[in-house]
Structure formats: C-alpha cells, structure tokens
Symmetry: C2
Subunit: 348 residues, 2 copies
C-alpha cells in the first residue's frame, strides 16, 4: 500500500516515445483489439452521453465510463476555430481509477491517444462492414486525423492505396509527405470525386463546426463503406441526408449519436444498428455487396476506456511514465490536517 499518493503520468513526450517504440500501426492494431474486447462486453459498462459544456466557439466535454472494476474518463475540447490561431482543434487527457478505492491509477495525455483510438475504431468498424477485398480508400479531409486513419486502415483492413483530398492542397501535401515510406500508394486528388474513384472505403474527416455537405448523394455509388468521422457534435455534419437514407447505418451508442452524429439529420426513430452487436454476432453487418454501409462515428467513452486500459497495461513493461504526487495520503487517513502540520515541522 506504499506510494498511493503517486499517480503514473504519461506526458506528451512519453506518449510519443511509447508510440514510436511500439510503432503506430502496432499500437492501433492493439487498440482495435482492446476496443473489440470491450465492445464484446458492452453490457458490463456504465454508459452515459458525454457531459458537454458548449460555448459559441467550441465545446468542452467529459466522457466517463466504468466496467465496475475500473473507472475512466476523458477531458476533451473541440474548437474548430483553434486551427487558425495555431492551436489544436481537439486536445485531451484522461484518467483511469480503481472503482474499489476511487484512487486514480493513471493520468495521461490523450490528444495523440485519441487520434490513435479514433482511427483504430474506424478500422475496426470497417473490418466488419467494408466490401470484401476493398483495398482503396478515399480520404476526404487531410487534417490532424488523416495519417492515423490511413495507417490504421492499412494495418487493420489491408488498405494499400489512399486517395487524398482536402479543400486546402497544403493539407494534402502534408499528408503525402508524412505517409511517404509507409508502404501505402498515395494519390493527391484535386476533387472529392477524383479521390473516390475506385475506392471501396470512403473516409470523411473534416472539422468545420457547421452542417457541411462534403459528400452529395450523386457522388456515392453502390457497394461502398463510408467511414464518417468529422460529424461529431450538434450542428456539425458532413454528409447529405439523401446518402443516409440509402445507407445501412451503424453507430456506437445511439443516445449520443442521435445528438451528435450524421443521423441528427434523420427522424429520431430512424433504424440504426449498434456496432457492438455486429461484433458479437447479434446483428448483421454487411449483407449485400451492393449495400452502402455507413459508420456514423462520433467517439464514445468506452473507446477511451479501452485506450486508457491499453496504456495502463503497456506501462507494466515500458518506462514511459513519470510519478505525479497527486493524491494526499496521510499515514492516518483521518489526519489530513496533521499532514500539513508535519510538513510545516519538516520545513522548519
């Protein structure tokens, strides 16, 4: 019971070291495994839509969940205008605690970790839903999440070609540069339509806080899987409603996705399938090669829990954390004030 005041902390620097040590593709493959394992025991989790504090320029959210043994939560913001000010649109950190004591056991940066788990989640969904043998992905929106998506789909779904498009060609150029040497064939495209040529998987990941129409109905043919990542808060969507009406829609947690996802454009009782049920076999995923499947991704607390659990497990063998003196732990738990007095005596 020693050193209970100490919480292992994974800084940004240590998270980068951990990811580079294991390799981003291995980390995302592992994360997909952790998420899949937790989705298989979906009903053992406390689930609640995230607790959001909205302002005119963005949102700050807390995403808690628990499996009865461990409790995790993530702090995450979403401020699309930040990019213009040189800041991240999304920053995050998270914490894991023991349910039995309430004591934290891990504090970690989660900006990088969220990018990794989001891509891992997308690829896990696509492995269930994408047309058999799809190896070409259109990547529409080439911002902070794009490279992670590309590498996750390579590692987890066998994608070998990514066709990139962004309204800002500099973003596409950055992606091509960063992914050079990854083993992926890369094509910088001038239009979204060009990016979608021959693609069995279409990933949209743009970030404006508005109802945008990145894809219109006439752009989407039969027999594709759409991985819609960027529509993730009220008033922020990417797909034309008509595409949704032609698609079989798969979601993480319906009460949250109805508010935040692409399906905020549909009637509240429009049928959707919960992804965890596809994973356990309780529901059907893709049933027809000509079907359009849509993963309406918004990100759910259990995915962050899986990611926290993964990092916690990795730290059993890897040195990428530092001790944080975060929990007051007097020798006699009733003597909190005495701890102050003893600190005073020691300093004198």
């Amino acid at each position: 019971m020693e050193n209970l005041n100490i919480v292992p902390f994974v800084s940004v620097d240590n998270m980068m070291k951990l990811v580079l040590h294991l390799g981003p593709e291995r980390v995302m493959t592992d994360l997909a495994g952790y998420i899949e394992a937790d989705f298989r025991r979906w009903q053992s989790f406390d689930k609640t839509p995230r607790v959001a504090s909205h302002s005119e320029v963005g949102v700050i959210e807390l995403m808690p969940t628990s499996d009865g043994e461990m409790y995790g939560f993530k702090y995450v913001n979403g401020h699309p205008k930040n990019t213009k000010e040189g800041l991240q649109t999304v920053t995050a950190f998270g914490l894991l605690a023991e349910v039995n004591t309430g004591y934290p056991i891990l504090l970690t940066e989660m900006t990088i970790l969220t990018a990794l788990r989001t891509a891992a989640m997308s690829a896990l969904a696509a492995r269930q839903l994408a047309p058999k043998g799809a190896t070409v992905m259109a990547m529409i929106g080439n911002g902070a999440q794009a490279e992670f998506q590309a590498l996750a789909f390579k590692a987890i779904c066998g994608v070998n070609e990514v066709r990139l498009y962004d309204i800002d060609p500099a973003a596409t150029a950055k992606c091509v540069r960063n992914l050079a040497g990854s083993g992926l064939a890369l094509t910088a495209c001038k239009t979204a339509e060009e990016a979608m040529e021959g693609a069995g998987i279409i990933t949209t990941c743009t970030a404006d806080k508005q109802c945008a129409t990145i894809l219109t109905d006439n752009m989407v043919g039969a027999g594709v899987h759409i991985n819609a990542v960027g529509g993730d808060c009220p008033g922020k969507t990417e797909l034309h409603r008509d595409i949704l009406l032609r698609s079989s829609i798969f979601v993480e947690y319906p009460p949250q996705t109805r508010i935040e996802g692409e399906i905020q454009q549909l009637d509240p009782d429009h049928p959707v399938t919960e992804l965890w049920q596809v994973i356990t076999g309780a529901a059907t995923g893709r049933s027809d090669p000509r079907q359009i499947t849509l993963f309406d991704s918004v990100g759910f607390a259990i995915e962050d829990f899986s990611a926290l659990r993964y990092i916690h497990d990795q730290l059993k063998a890897l040195p990428y954390s530092e001790p944080l003196d975060m929990i007051a732990d007097p020798d006699d738990p009733r003597d909190l004030y005495g701890m102050l007095l003893r600190a005073k005596a020691k300093a004198a």
Copy 2:
C-alpha cells in the same frame, strides 16, 4: 502563444507549501471571499448536478461548471470504507481551462483544497445564518474535515471555543493535538449532548455511508445554527427528520441537495432557501434569534471553481507549481502525426 503544451500542476507537496506559506486561516478566509464573489454572480454559471458513478463501496464523481470564460471540474471519490484500509475517504483533483480555446490552464490536487473550501463554505454560510454573537461551536465528528472546520469558523465567524465529540476518542484526541496553539479553547466531550452545551453553532461531519442519526430532535434547542456537512450522498444523512421539520433550511443547489443532502428525507417540494440569494440579499437568512437555521451542505461545483480560480490567481505570484507536458501542441496544428515523425527523427 509559447508553451501551450505546458499546464501548471500543483502537487500535494506544493499545495501544502502554498497553504503553509499563506496560513490555513488566511487561505480559508480568501476562499470564502472567492466563493462569495461567485455566489453573487450565481446566474452566470452553467450548473448541473454532479455526474456520479456509484458502486457498492463508494462513488466517483465529476463536478463541472463554467462561467463562460473559464471552465472547471473536479474529480472526487467518496469511499467511507477506505479509512479502515488506511486510505482517504475523499480524494480529489481538479482542472481549470479557458472556454475560448478549451486548453487547460491549471491542474491541481484537490484533496487538501476540498477540505479547505468545504470549511470556508460552511463558515461563509454560518456568517449569514448563525445567531449573532455565537462564539461556541460543537464539532461532532472529528475526522479529516474537523480541524479545517474549526479554523475556518475561528477566522471567518469569530468562534473562539470548539467542543469536540467523536464516537472514537482517538479522533477527538487527534483534533485537540492538532489544534493546540491555534488560539481556540478546546473541550473534548464524552457525548454529543455534552459537546452541544452552550453551542450556538453545531457542526456535524461524520462519514458513514448510511442514514445515521447523529442528532435527534430532543438534542437540539432553539436559536442555533446547524452546519450539516456529513450527509452528502443518497442514503447518507446525519440528522433526524424531525429536526429538519423545525429548521429553516438553506442549500447550495436544490436539484443536487434534494438527491444528496439531509433533505432527501423530506418531500421533494419542502421549502428551502438558496444560499446565494441570502448572500445577494434577495432572500432572508436568519429572521429570529430563536430560529433553527440549517445549512444542508453537500458541496457544489461552483465552490470548486472558486477554489481553482483562487489557486490560479495565487500562482501568479507564488512558485508552488511545476510544468506538466500535457497538451500536444505541434507547430502546425493539423500536423499531429508530423510531430511524431519529428520526435522520431530527433531521437535517431
């Protein structure tokens, strides 16, 4: 805009140094001032009952709020059985962020800070509600919160005598020892009744997770102020219902107190007064010397926000924080993956 990745962190050690540097009585007096200022602008805050995750042995809670400029939240657990295992019943940490960017600007331990703000809140309420000239306080329950309560009432309400009682005499002895030299007259009592002799203020602060009856109706005479601190979650109360029916009841945030406070024993429409309205003058506090006033304290997110704001302000002049590399901040915000690649190149 430099060093946005760095969040100032106040460790337990630094919090103790800060409190000892300023002195606990000054800190609690200052905190009462910050809380009072925030209660005066009550309507400018986003308010929500805390987000609780209950288990058989305790609860883990997130308590967020925002005034539109800053956002704060506290993580706090409550595990009464922890004491027997040598752990704190309550541990906490908190975070302050800028609403405009979503970027955190302070991470701090809050176990000690919560003890300080809880006592400051109690004394602030008593300054509004206690009988004029009350200088004697009964302190029933002599655990981790007791010394803070005693010193806050000394500094803020002019209490000069504290009569202590606990079912465990060792807890009382600890309190007497810790408060020796504080300038308070201290009396260790053998019963709760003895502790209440001549006391104009009665503070109850016990911690069993059950409906206990620390005070029965016949023990409480007219013309006192009851500061009920220990009843603070569903199924956890300290006062007999009959006392409540004789008292004028003051609360922090009714939707939360109805669930967690002593008034969970009453009808959901039993009249209560919101303390912020007493502070602004919109509602009456004590109107009669023979009245029993009751502050049904459960602790509300705005108090933690005030405490976070206070620590943030103190750090402008005091050195009691350390830099935490918590927020990924690539030079180009869209180039999160490139930050990984550059870290790799640097390490090679």
